[in-house]
């Protein structure tokens, strides 16, 4: 699914669902990662928290996620990863949620707070329906766990650092070490995210062997700043990331 790919994260429903589709289409990305708003996003820093909170208080509903995916699919065949916390999926009924996501056009699901040891029935349902999976790995993930994650992931989303999502100045040494280790241990492609926000970050990570890089909070900041008219800004910003 990824090969030196730029993966761009867009939070659904921020500031409203119609704009989310526009932003997804205007991003210069190989893969779009669509974030499902959740009331309690414990793995996210302040930028994404605010975006989710604002979407929810503006009346965003879970069904709007599928609407966004369908609209996007009418105009694009780019790969689409849905990133969600587990509770909205669990609450909807796992099979029901995965079915709806799949038929709307989602290629893979990443559930932030569902480590593989808790994912048994979720994985079965995904396999059953043809939905692919992406799992997180971290710099402190053991070799054994990395191997287990490698088996079930379409690609591995390696969080570059300790902590939560958010813009950071530079890519830490920890990230490069973790990337090297993951590349040695795993057969699947590795995408690196958390704190990736600049052109030099992207270049450094690709030359260190990353198969993908995820840029998220920086995009959210652009939407925060430009609101409804962030389309062009997102386009320019994401284009420059690769220049």
């Amino acid at each position: 699914m990824i090969k030196k790919s730029l993966i761009i994260f867009i939070p659904a429903g921020y500031p409203r669902k119609e704009k989310t589709v526009d932003f997804m289409l205007s991003a210069n990305a190989d893969v779009i990662e669509l974030g499902v708003p959740f009331s309690d996003p414990v793995a996210d820093g302040s930028a994404i928290q605010k975006a989710y909170c604002s979407a929810i208080s503006n009346g965003f509903r879970l069904k709007d996620v599928f609407w966004i995916v369908e609209k996007f699919r009418e105009q694009s065949d780019k790969k689409l990863v849905l990133m969600s916390y587990y509770n909205p999926i669990y609450r909807s009924g796992v099979r029901n949620f995965v079915e709806r996501a799949f038929s709307a056009g989602v290629d893979a699901m990443l559930v932030v707070d569902l480590p593989f040891d808790e994912a048994g029935s979720f994985l079965e349902i995904c396999r059953d329906l043809g939905m692919k999976n992406v799992f997180l790995a971290a710099p402190n993930t053991s070799e054994d766990r990395l191997k287990a994650i490698d088996k079930i992931s379409e690609f591995i989303y390696l969080t570059s650092t300790y902590g939560v999502t958010g813009v950071r100045d530079k890519i830490s040494d920890l990230a490069f070490k973790a990337l090297k280790r993951a590349k040695n241990t795993c057969k699947k492609p590795i995408a690196v995210g958390f704190g990736v926000s600049k052109r030099e970050h992207v270049a450094q990570l690709f030359s260190a062997g990353a198969d993908g890089v995820v840029v998220g909070s920086a995009i959210v900041r652009i939407i925060e700043q430009f609101g409804e008219s962030a389309d062009d800004e997102i386009h320019d910003f994401t284009e420059k990331l690769l220049s």
């Binding site: 309690d40 909170c53 879970l62 509770n87 707070d113 808790e118 971290a138």
Partner: protein
């Protein structure tokens, strides 16, 4: 690692390793003689254990039953929270951690954490919802006096659940040198088990004490349930006995108003804060805002072991409203000269609602004292 289907470890991958480290350390330490001796020393000489099991004769006469109060309100800090914080702070030292973080709602767990941290020379940061930070100023000041840094959390509903979110975010970055000292029997495995074990001292003592006093086990044990640490602490040693166990949730302004915190009574299954349990949530799985006059019960979820005990029917769960709790608060103050925490007042309020308790022997867990609530009560009754 689970209680029936409840519990589990629903966390981002980065927290798996710290949780495994904690589980290993806890397994190693819990039966260690040195550790048990040290903990026992602090519980006796610092916290004030054992706490009395007091026969409340005036309240008993008033309600027509024999009521014994387990006096956790007499502990250092004024609540049962210290049982868990001293124990976990010792565990943190054993693990070589230098810093403690914790969440707090009303501030009782924050204060107890700040005390244990000061005692054991650990750095301490407490996360507190900005709303709670405003309405519990005195406890904020207490924590600061005790040397803790107190951080108001502005995100979400600005209450306890958001403080837990923020503590989890901190821990995901700081776990190498930091222990997250969870205050209730909630969170990812092994936290609910650790907190239950450390709070079980309440039930162990009460069981011995009631046999000494009455020559038999009680007919019922009643405790309030927010996250559920005082309740699981007193219930656990009675689980295999033929004793009714009753957990009382916060009914707030009434279940029908939606303004309450009764997740077992009115909630549904969900996953939050690392655990599969019961939560108050909408149909999209977004967590609801909650309400209770007792800040310590103002949480949209409940510990997974309670969810399990409800499921298998071993524990009955009921509710008491704000005003029922307030009446019980005033009644105990006037009849016994004991001002209970508004949380504990929910357990007391239940006694009046259950006719079948008449003429029986009941233990109520008086989990905390009410000094911290005087401001709130003053507002309501003026």
């Amino acid at each position: 690692m689970r209680f029936g289907e409840f519990g589990g470890r629903y966390v981002p991958e980065i927290l798996i390793n710290p949780l495994e480290e904690l589980e290993r350390a806890y397994k190693e330490l819990k039966d260690d003689e040195e550790f048990k001796k040290e903990l026992d020393y602090y519980l006796r000489n610092y916290a004030g254990r054992p706490t009395p099991l007091y026969f409340a004769k005036n309240l008993s006469k008033d309600l027509g039953m024999k009521i014994y109060l387990k006096r956790e309100d007499l502990l250092h800090g004024g609540a049962h929270k210290i049982n868990n914080t001293i124990a976990q702070a010792l565990l943190a030292k054993f693990m070589g951690k230098e810093r403690i973080i914790a969440e707090t709602g009303a501030g009782q767990h924050g204060v107890a954490t700040a005390m244990a941290s000061a005692l054991l020379g650990l750095k301490c940061r407490i996360y507190m919802g900005a709303l709670d930070y405003e309405r519990q100023k005195m406890n904020v000041f207490r924590m600061k006096i005790l040397g803790a840094e107190v951080v108001p959390v502005e995100s979400g509903s600005r209450t306890l659940k958001d403080a837990i979110n923020e503590a989890l975010r901190d821990w995901a970055e700081s776990f190498e040198k930091t222990h997250y000292l969870i205050g209730s029997a909630v969170g990812p495995h092994p936290f609910p088990t650790i907190v239950r074990d450390f709070q079980s001292v309440i039930g162990k003592e009460a069981r011995r004490q009631i046999i000494d006093a009455e020559g038999r086990l009680p007919d019922a044990v009643v405790a309030c349930v927010g996250g559920g640490s005082n309740a699981i602490g007193i219930f656990y040693p009675f689980l295999r006995d033929d004793v009714r166990l009753i957990g009382v949730e916060a009914g707030g302004e009434g279940i029908e108003t939606g303004k309450h915190s009764a997740s077992l009574t009115a909630g549904s299954r969900g996953v939050l804060h690392g655990m599969l349990s019961y939560f108050l949530q909408d149909e999209d799985g977004m967590i609801s805002d909650t309400h209770s006059i007792a800040a310590g019960l103002d949480y949209p979820g409940v510990g997974p072991e309670h969810a399990y005990l409800k499921e298998i029917g071993r524990v009955e769960y009921s509710v008491a409203t704000d005003s029922e709790a307030l009446n019980a608060f005033l009644k105990l103050s006037r009849l016994e000269g004991i001002i209970p925490a508004l949380e504990s007042a929910h357990a007391l309020a239940y006694l009046e609602k259950d006719e079948s308790l008449r003429d029986s022997i009941v233990i109520v867990n008086l989990s905390g004292r009410g000094d911290k609530d005087l401001g709130i009560v003053m507002e309501v009754i003026k």
